[in-house]
């Protein structure tokens, strides 16, 4: 064993609380106290390992230092893949660092030390949740989770794949939690706290599995940390500070039944840190001696407050080595190299020691394969599935196709991870690429001229800074997950309409949804105030000599020094000014919002109609508070001026839905391609005492018009047909050229909403019935179906209705539920529910196809709309147990699939099917995946008895399967499934 104390590893004499060696063994991190903040430093490992490197001036020892923690750093830990460094400190924060690729060496601006940061590590995410000092952090196997524990008595599990998402908070400790360790197969996490307990938590449901208190009952809370450790074979958990017969020990806890029969004894003071060697060893074969089978064993280092370090082999009863007086103060942390032969130890005294062992001393380390086979023997293959990538990579790829998918995936992963991950040594500045070939120098020359400068409303200068580099935070960017813009509240659903759908909000609702005069003049900016630079003349105080002595030259220096560090006393003034600017910017943004709202509401469809309708409503409101009664009056045929007619007592039971009011004239755009406009002018001419209404249509510049005997209340159209409903409850349907297709249909009650789509007409009547006709076939698809089944509750009303291209009617209710009427099932089916907790909690973001834009135009998306996004956000906040979340997501996705199927929305069906398949692949549910594939493939051999349809919604099922298979191929575990169906598809294609 060799021992080295590299004196250059120091935090200027301040305590070092944590040390961790990078998985690739080329560098290590230390964490501790800085000058007036916490400090994380990254060091080069080479000068520790080799003396010649230590002496070589060209090899930098310190690679990077980060002063960003506000208070002492208690723990630094590299992720298992080596890409990230997590640090936790007394500032209650956990920071996750990633190496920035595009920046070369640089000094910290203004820092007194001229030491350059050779590598740039950037904080990519800050995890805020703890209310007290963070004492320990730990990455789970495979870097799925990051756990942090704190003096706030809690442990927080973070989703390491979607920072800063929290998975859960583990509560149960009643004292400061000071140490964490993951089970190497990922089934448990263990924590040790000052409450005299060691707790083991299950990762499957995040509940406590064991609470071990006996060995700790005599312990006092005397140590700064309690870093416990799990053996690499997973069989033993060794605690920090425990007591046995009033002597300090490190308690060995057996995985089997959490028995506590053994301990490591010998330290004179409390054990602060235990760290298992990551390797499992077997006895070195002596030359000449016959190879006899020996049990593999583990190696464990124990550090204590008594300043000594002991190293144990589980095959020996006594420690392998004990080193006393290595440090002046307590040992704080230990880290092994991945090779298992080197170890770094740090101490409160601010120094670090490196220990180098030989194979003769420790034994022969098992290779990864042997270690995996031990894991598989103990835990079975099912747990091995949840363990390392390394295991999967040893799986033999049996199919060339799957090899292709794997390679493609790796390529894209490499492209994503950026140059920093691919080539960690490349530190060349890559700024040029960001700036279109213009060099930084060129930019700097003209920056003053080129930079954009504007004036704010109060006359202040505002400079738009020139962005010279993006941050390469990549996979942590929250924008990735919320890329669907969330519409400002108050914008109406109609903004999401596209030409292929015919829909609108029912007018009564529309006025309450998006048409409020949001542009409130009261909110606009106050009169610009004088920004007042302090340039007032100040002519007094002209005095004293101008003599310059050397003393006076130095004197102001001292006086001036304080000015560098004290905040300006002028701040209060600016605060006032700032407050005003703040106010202004906020009102600015409100105005903008309002403008956007207006655009959204009026922009796409029926602009005039909506505007007019609103005006009409407003006018009539005067002196007439009851709108629904007024609506009832519309039912009277030949009403000349509806506003003057005294409404008869409205038959409320019959008229459940509001009806639009009659207007003098309105127009609407029926379709964009070809562009069809519809103009309605009511009561144009008087013939023999009765008034006629004119319907004019212009289609691609060609006009036609027709006359109707009664005022038109609502009109709608598609590229194929046009339909109008009149005051006399007559519904007329015309072809796109103005030919009447059907004789007028008599409706039972006035029309509330009317839609056309393709050659379908849908009418929602005020009596809450729904009818859909297929004009081409002259058949009814839905016949006077009552909405009363779904209109439960007194206040529920229809807020939205639409007709899909396939003639499926959909209605959205004010209670957030959306139904569609399935004509094949002859029943109402629920397709969306905004209060559905499944929607809120489903988390399938990882399964979203990155390159595909989500289908936002399908009927399902329109009905679920914003709500779906809200669900995405909500799931980030909620801390549901993983298995529950998994089930909820599964249920949600299956709901979506079924809804898309009922709505006959083929594109959406395909979209959700792929997400569903990806989710099944990610979560490893082979059972459902197989059933899905089976359904898509159908019977390979034709038989009369089968009822299998080769298509669904016009999509060929086998084509869908062809799209699903690559997704399955991404997970090597399903390669058998992949091969099986790939082969059968090939077989069918050749037939």
């Amino acid at each position: 064993m060799k021992l080295l104390k590299p004196s250059w590893v120091s935090h200027n004499g301040k305590p070092i609380f944590s040390v961790d060696i990078h998985p690739d063994g080329t560098k290590f991190a230390t964490g501790g106290q800085g000058e007036d903040s916490g400090k994380v430093m990254i060091w080069n490992m080479a000068p520790v390992l080799r003396e010649e490197d230590e002496k070589n001036e060209n090899i930098s020892k310190m690679l990077c230092q980060m002063d960003n923690h506000l208070a002492c750093v208690n723990c630094v830990r590299w992720s298992n893949n080596g890409l990230y460094l997590a640090s936790g400190g007394d500032d209650k924060l956990v920071m996750v660092w990633k190496r920035a690729a595009f920046i070369g060496p640089s000094t910290v601006f203004g820092s007194s030390s001229k030491l350059a940061n050779v590598e740039q590590w950037r904080c990519v995410t800050i995890l805020r949740n703890h209310t007290g000092d963070v004492m320990d952090v730990a990455w789970s196997p495979r870097d799925v989770w990051l756990a942090s524990c704190s003096v706030d008595n809690t442990i927080v599990i973070w989703n390491a794949r979607k920072f800063p998402e929290m998975i859960t908070t583990l509560r149960g400790h009643t004292g400061l939690v000071k140490g964490l360790t993951w089970d190497p197969v990922g089934k448990y996490i263990a924590s040790q706290a000052d409450d005299h307990s060691l707790k083991v938590w299950r990762t499957v449901d995040w509940q406590m599995d064991a609470n071990i208190t006996k060995p700790f009952s005599e312990c006092g809370g005397t140590t700064h940390v309690l870093r416990l450790s799990w053996s690499p074979d997973g069989q033993y958990l060794v605690s920090a500070h425990a007591m046995n017969n009033s002597g300090p020990t490190a308690q060995i806890v057996e995985r089997d039944g959490w028995k506590t029969n053994m301990d490591f004894v010998g330290h004179r003071k409390a054990v602060t840190v235990v760290k298992f060697n990551p390797k499992i060893f077997k006895k070195k074969q002596k030359n000449g001696s016959s190879p006899k089978p020996s049990c593999p064993y583990c190696c464990c280092a124990v550090g204590s407050k008594d300043r000594s370090l002991s190293v144990w082999l589980t095959s020996l009863k006594r420690p392998l080595v004990v080193i006393h007086d290595l440090f002046d103060k307590s040992i704080m942390d230990i880290s092994w190299t991945l090779t298992g032969l080197g170890m770094l130890v740090c101490s409160m005294d601010g120094t670090v020691a490196y220990l180098d062992f030989s194979l003769d001393e420790l034994g022969d380390p098992l290779n990864e394969e042997e270690k995996n086979s031990i894991h598989q023997n103990i835990y079975g293959k099912s747990l091995a599935i949840t363990s390392t990538e390394a295991q999967l990579s040893t799986t033999i790829i049996e199919n060339p196709e799957i090899l292709k998918y794997q390679q493609e995936r790796q390529n894209s992963a490499q492209a994503n991870s950026g140059p920093g991950a691919a080539a960690p040594e490349s530190s060349a500045p890559k700024l040029n690429s960001v700036m279109n070939g213009e060099s930084l120098e060129d930019i700097r020359k003209n920056l003053l001229k080129k930079q954009v400068e504007t004036r704010t409303a109060d006359g202040r200068r505002r400079i738009t800074p020139l962005c010279i580099a993006q941050l390469d935070t990549g996979d942590f960017s929250p924008a990735l997950f919320n890329s669907v813009p969330i519409l400002p509240s108050g914008s109406s659903m109609s903004s999401q309409l596209t030409p292929q759908l015919s829909s609108d909000s029912s007018p009564g609702q529309a006025s309450s949804m998006g048409l409020k005069p949001t542009h409130d003049p009261m909110l606009t900016s106050p009169p610009p105030n004088n920004t007042a630079k302090p340039m007032e003349d100040n002519n007094d105080g002209v005095k004293s000599s101008l003599l310059l002595t050397s003393a006076s030259k130095i004197e102001p220096m001292k006086a001036l020094d304080s000015r560098f560090t004290e905040r300006s006393k002028a701040t209060p003034v600016t605060v006032q000014k700032e407050a005003k600017t703040k106010e202004e910017t906020s009102s600015d943004s409100e105005d903008k919002m309002a403008a956007i709202n207006k655009n959204l509401t009026f922009g796409k469809r029926k602009p005039e109609l909506l505007l007019d309708g609103r005006e009409v409503l407003e006018k009539r409101k005067k002196g007439r508070p009851r709108k629904d009664k007024m609506a009832a009056s519309m039912a009277q045929p030949f009403t000349q001026e509806p506003s003057r007619v005294v409404a008869p007592p409205a038959p409320v039971a019959v008229l459940k839905l509001p009806t639009p009011s009659t207007q003098k004239a309105f127009s609407l755009q029926v379709s964009m391609e070809p562009s069809v406009f519809l103009e309605v002018e009511n009561e144009v001419s008087m013939v023999a005492g009765s008034k006629l209404s004119q319907l004019r249509c212009s289609r691609d510049g060609r006009d036609w018009n027709t006359l109707l005997p009664s005022s038109v209340v609502v009109a709608a159209g598609s590229s194929d047909i046009l339909a109008v409903a009149c005051e006399d409850r007559m519904l007329s349907v015309f072809s796109s050229c103005g030919r009447r297709l059907l004789p007028a249909i008599q409706l039972g009650t006035p029309a509330s909403a009317l839609h056309c789509s393709a050659h379908y007409v849908m009418v929602l009547t005020a009596g809450a019935t729904l009818s859909v006709w297929d004009v081409q076939k002259q058949k009814a698809l839905v016949k006077n179906e009552s909405l009363l089944t779904v209109l439960s509750g007194a206040d529920t009303t229809v807020s939205q209705s639409l007709l899909t291209q396939q003639g499926v009617p959909v209605i959205g209710l004010s209670n957030g539920k959306s139904y569609c009427f399935s004509s094949s099932l002859e029943t109402w089916t629920l397709i969306a529910d905004k209060s559905d907790s499944l929607v809120q909690c489903a988390d399938f973001r990882s399964c979203l196809p990155s390159h595909d834009t989500p289908v936002s135009s399908g009927p399902l998306a329109v009905m679920q709309g914003r709500n779906l996004n809200a669900g995405r956000l909500a799931s980030r906040l909620s801390s549901t147990p993983h298995h529950l979340q998994q089930s909820m997501t599964l249920a949600f996705l299956e709901n979506q699939l079924a809804s898309a199927l009922t709505l006959q929305s083929a594109q959406e069906y395909r979209y959700w099917l792929l997400i569903y398949a990806r989710f099944l692949v990610n979560e490893g549910s082979e059972y459902r995946l197989r059933e899905l594939c089976k359904e898509l493939l159908g019977p390979v051999h034709k038989s009369a008895a089968t009822s299998w349809e080769p298509t669904t919604l016009g999509l060929r099922k086998r084509e869908l399967l062809r799209e699903v298979l690559p997704v399955i191929g991404e997970n090597l575990r399903f390669q058998r499934l992949f091969t099986e169906y790939q082969d059968q598809l090939e077989l069918l294609r050749n037939k």
């Binding site: 820092s111 904080c123 010279i468 941050l471 935070t473 105080g541 006032q576 407050a579």
Partner: protein
């Protein structure tokens, strides 16, 4: 931790005649998109003895600031000589660049400035009106002080908001004109340091 790190400040047009505008090319890096603008100020310390003679040469808003590395040139007019005590017109003083976010100062960069006559004859016999001096900013030795502030919005962290004294604004004497440096000791130190 600070969302904005100043990476470099290059002093342009230095040394230069006293009447030339100050020019600083500021490079900074921002970790997350900022909801509000940064406010930068250049303060010229007229006299070491008293803050009374501080002149805010200019203040600009800089925004919008998305995550990334940015640069801009902050140019401000030279100080008003009339406001500088004649005894301090020649010699060493300080120019400060401060940046605030949500009205909280989080960085202060200070430079020593030496104003002197270039003409040896004037140096021997300084004139009464100290114009025509040359300004030399000691660019190689910036003094950087960073302050911890609350970067989050008030809604997110209520407990931090409580630290911000809401009455500090109302305690301003009504006679105090905006921009004029308030006399010492009258005002509470409006510290919003949220540690």
């Amino acid at each position: 931790m600070a969302k904005v790190q100043v990476l470099n400040v290059a002093v342009l047009d230095n040394p230069s005649p006293f009447g030339n505008p100050f020019q600083f090319e500021i490079t900074f890096e921002c970790m997350e998109d900022l909801a509000e603008d940064l406010e930068w100020k250049i303060i010229y310390v007229g006299s070491a003895e008293s803050e009374e003679y501080d002149q805010i040469l200019d203040s600009v808003l800089v925004g919008p600031v998305p995550a990334g590395r940015h640069m801009f040139v902050f140019q401000a007019d030279a100080p008003n000589t009339g406001l500088i005590p004649e005894s301090d017109a020649v010699g060493v003083t300080v120019v400060l660049i401060t940046c605030t976010y949500r009205s909280q100062e989080f960085i202060r960069i200070g430079y020593y400035v030496n104003n002197e006559y270039t003409d040896p004859e004037l140096r021997e016999n300084p004139p009464i009106k100290p114009d025509y001096t040359q300004r030399n900013i000691l660019a190689s030795n910036p003094r950087v002080t960073r302050f911890h502030i609350n970067w989050e919005g008030c809604t997110e962290r209520m407990e931090d908001c409580e630290n911000v004294d809401p009455s500090s604004n109302s305690m301003l004497p009504p006679s105090c004109l905006p921009g004029k440096a308030p006399p010492l000791g009258v005002l509470p130190d409006n510290s919003m340091d949220c540690l």
